[in-house]
Symmetry: C2
Subunit: 111 residues, 2 copies
């Protein structure tokens, strides 16, 4: 068993998008072979890049409010919301509130 | 993209352990092929069964406090803690506090 707090993991700033920090929590180095856990923090007015890739996202909103874009859809986000974004669908998460938007985003092992 | 709140998913009571409810959030029915997301709520004094299985757990503590058992180790849990429990390791989560312990627990697609 490995245990740590997400705050113990150094965040990296994303070059794409705006005002986004990412912490890689559970990775291959930790022992994960099937899927990886990351925590994102998006500052007010920030957004992740609008992009797509072959793998899916599983997202859980921890704090804050925002908007998710997936394909031609848009929906509001709040704490406790769950998103499944299938592989190949263009997507983006935006923080249009005045507080940090914090969420987990998990992906299959793709490296 | 599929979006819903975790509260929209009906919880099931676990027969094993004590005082544990589980909501299956992201499943094969939602479109997930690689890994599944579940949310657990453990009432004060409750615990998950002490068991083991070949697949790993990736856990994120959302609310509350507790104790995790993994192999011969025990550690305290608080909000924001991350656990990686490798496949084959006997494990249990216990709530020794007076508030609900809430966590996400993800597993690879094993069905």
């Amino acid at each position: 068993m490995k245990k740590f707090n997400y705050m113990d993991v150094e965040p990296e700033s994303l070059e794409e998008g705006k005002g986004v920090k990412r912490r890689w929590l559970i990775t291959r180095e930790i022992g994960a072979e099937n899927f990886f856990m990351r925590l994102y923090e998006v500052e007010p007015g920030g957004f992740t890049p609008l992009h797509s890739h072959p793998w899916e996202h599983e997202v859980f909103i921890l704090e804050g409010e925002g908007v998710a874009v997936g394909g031609s859809e848009e929906c509001k986000l709040r704490e406790g919301d769950v998103l499944f974004i299938p592989g190949g669908e263009p997507h983006q998460l935006r923080n249009e509130s005045d507080k940090v938007l914090k969420f987990l985003c998990l992906i299959p092992a793709v490296d």
